[in-house]
Amino acid sequence: MKYIDEYRDGGLAQALARTIAAEADPARTYHLMEFCGGHTHAISRYGLEDILPANVRMVHGPGCPVCVLPVGRIDAAIYLARQPGVILCTYGDMLRVPGSKRLSLLKAKAEGCDIRMVYSTMDALKLAQDNPDRQVVFFAIGFETTTPPTAVALKQAQALNLKNFFVFCNHVLTPSAIAQILDSPEVRVLGTVKLDGFIGPAHVSTIIGSAPYEYFAEEYQRPVVIAGFEPLDVLQAVLMLVRQVNQGRFEVENEFARAVTRDGNSKAKALVAEVFELRKSFEWRGLGRVPYSGLRIKAEFARFDAERHWDVPQDSPPDNKACECGAILRGVKKPTDCKLFGTVCTPENPMGSCMVSAEGACAAHWTYGRFRDIKAAPDSKVDP
């Protein structure tokens, strides 16, 4: 597959790893955070930790829009699914994510709610057209990448004058979350964790461009390399970060130039601006409330807004108190530092955001990396 296979070449990966090892200063440690689950996934799925030198440590960021959605919003989606006449539709990713009381959309479906998986917002629109006597709610989630398709659907619903199509909007903005992490006391003030650099989002950046990261590089004096989600992209970005750190630079570099420009996709950005506006703040699982980090539907499209049409509960049940997600997201702790990891908390029954999807730090370690813990401590409590 063109533009995929070339970026998964094992020989090149080994060569890149050797270059990184050669250039990384043995006298120091490099803490590099990849913000995106896509990078986390590539690192875990391809076992890149094994080929990186020991002093290059990858810190897994908040991961993916699924992981960061707070329990209360899942509960709200289940609430909507339970309203009479409602068909709730959403992407496959959301179906298994547990809300409070271990309920999930999948379980609500088993109890009789009409919940459908869609692949695209176009499918959601079609559902509404095909079921004129039902109310179709699209449970919209996603970063900047996934927001424009929702905007297209809302515009189309308006054009078609659909009366039975609604969006429950949970779209969030990545730059705000990155700022939240960098603003945390551990990172900024106490200096307990050094985040030495960032791998910037791949597909989010196709929309927003590389420009928004320039502020971070400058303000927090950290290098940022925007990188594709293929393993060679990640390795290359690591190398570029190591070089910037070594050279004391903190620039925004673009490893993913084949898809990302400085300005991003202006057509998509305009659509989003037309349909959505900023919320004052929005809760992120693992990060708490983050100012200006979420979108809501503009007044002009109010009649499609599920939050305006139904009295959606606004509760925000907390994660398990023992959950260390916050600390893990900031690079202070590792998954195995959490005493719930792998016992109470597993991908089947996640207790915190990092265990929710395979892109979360805990889930990725559990799913792909936990054999390493055993090498460290043979016959520990970890089960097959």
Partner: protein
């Protein structure tokens, strides 16, 4: 083949008719369905006795010290017809394969049908004919059956449960708990074809591919393998949950780890493409005409050669090794040279967007 006398004034209207509750009621309508559709298609001595059970002779291997095996599987697939097969052929292949995975020779099948009221007789005939063909090709007759009809809205077209019995030749002992550290792990061909072929037919996923299901009866391949190397340790078909889940089952059963090499696992490009598109991992996608074979390392080359000489094993490959591991991890050396766990499927595979 036919009853002594015509019992039903009018033949079934296969072209336009539909299943209704009377077809499962135990009366004349059911009798007619059984005669004109099932008995006509499956036509064999045991079934033609028309008893509530089939009686047949004990196979010679049993008299020479063989063992019996029995297996059952329900088939609830949607859509019913997919590229490379349908629920009928699948219900034969899947169960023949589960018998064969004991190193056994399949003797006969039973078929239980649960049909939803309103199901078109034409679809039923297509399925039953396909089943009968698969059974004849495999040389494993459907000797007994049952039909139930459930009310509209209480089924999903048709469910088929097939049970198979077979005989393990004397001296053969294949079982999921016999993998040992050092054993070779082989697969008989490409992974994920069946699952992708079926998914390609789901309207909601909306993609097209030329991939056909690999659905096939593997017992002749197994017979060749057992003939060459009677001491095969484990055979298993990686169906639901794919290669990953099946290897995890075996690892736990045998108490060994399994170390795979990603670049050695055969996957078709189209299957890779579809999996990328849907956010799935081919190692978790179902196969219906492939097997995993675990054997002592010294038998690996012979078995690979035997597999590759069989039409259903042409793409056979050595994909890994069993290792000492009290945690029974399945791990994989990736194409990048790193390592990862290849875990059980968590829940069921759902297409993802992130």
């Amino acid at each position: 083949m036919t009853l002594p006398r015509r019992t039903h004034p009018r033949p079934l209207d296969i072209a336009n008719g539909r299943i209704d509750l009377t077809h499962g009621g135990g009366g004349r309508a059911m009798q007619q369905l059984v005669e004109e559709l099932f008995v006509a298609a499956f036509d064999n001595d045991a079934l033609n006795q028309r008893n509530d059970q089939a009686a047949f002779d004990v196979p010679p291997e049993m008299l020479r010290g063989g063992r019996m095996v029995m297996t059952t599987d329900g088939y609830v697939i949607s859509p019913l017809f997919f590229p490379g097969g349908d629920i009928g052929s699948l219900a034969v292949h899947g169960t023949v394969n589960d018998v064969a995975m004991a190193g056994a020779r399949p003797l006969s099948l039973s078929a239980g049908f649960i049909i939803e009221e309103g199901f078109p007789l034409s679809d039923l005939k297509r399925i039953v004919d396909s089943m009968a063909n698969a059974s004849r090709e495999a040389g494993v007759p459907v000797v007994t059956g049952d039909t139930k009809v459930v009310e509209k809205g209480k089924g999903d077209g048709i469910f088929i449960t097939t049970t198979g019995i077979g005989v393990v030749p004397p001296g053969v002992n294949v079982s999921g708990d016999r993998a040992r550290a050092g054993d070779a792990v082989l697969v008989s061909g490409t992974m994920g074809d069946h699952g992708v072929a079926v998914m390609s037919q789901r309207e909601s996923l909306g993609f097209d591919t030329a991939i056909l299901s690999d659905s096939a009866a593997l017992h002749t391949l197994v017979a060749d393998m057992v003939a060459a190397t009677p001491d095969i340790h484990v055979l298993r078909d990686p169906t639901r949950g794919g290669l990953a889940s099946t290897l995890n089952e075996i690892a736990v059963q045998s108490g060994v780890g399994i170390a795979l090499r990603e670049s050695d696992i055969p996957v078709r490009p189209e299957v890779k493409g579809a999996c990328e598109l849907l956010g799935l991992d081919p190692l978790y996608v179902a196969n219906e005409g492939k097997l995993i074979c675990i054997c002592a390392p010294e038998h690996a080359d012979t078995l690979l050669a035997v597999m590759r000489a069989h039409p259903l094993g042409r793409d056979a490959a050595l994909v890994g090794t069993c290792v000492e591991d009290s945690h029974a991890f399945v791990t994989m050396r990736t194409a990048m040279g790193g390592n990862r766990v290849v875990d059980w499927l968590a829940g069921e595979q759902l297409p993802r967007i992130c």
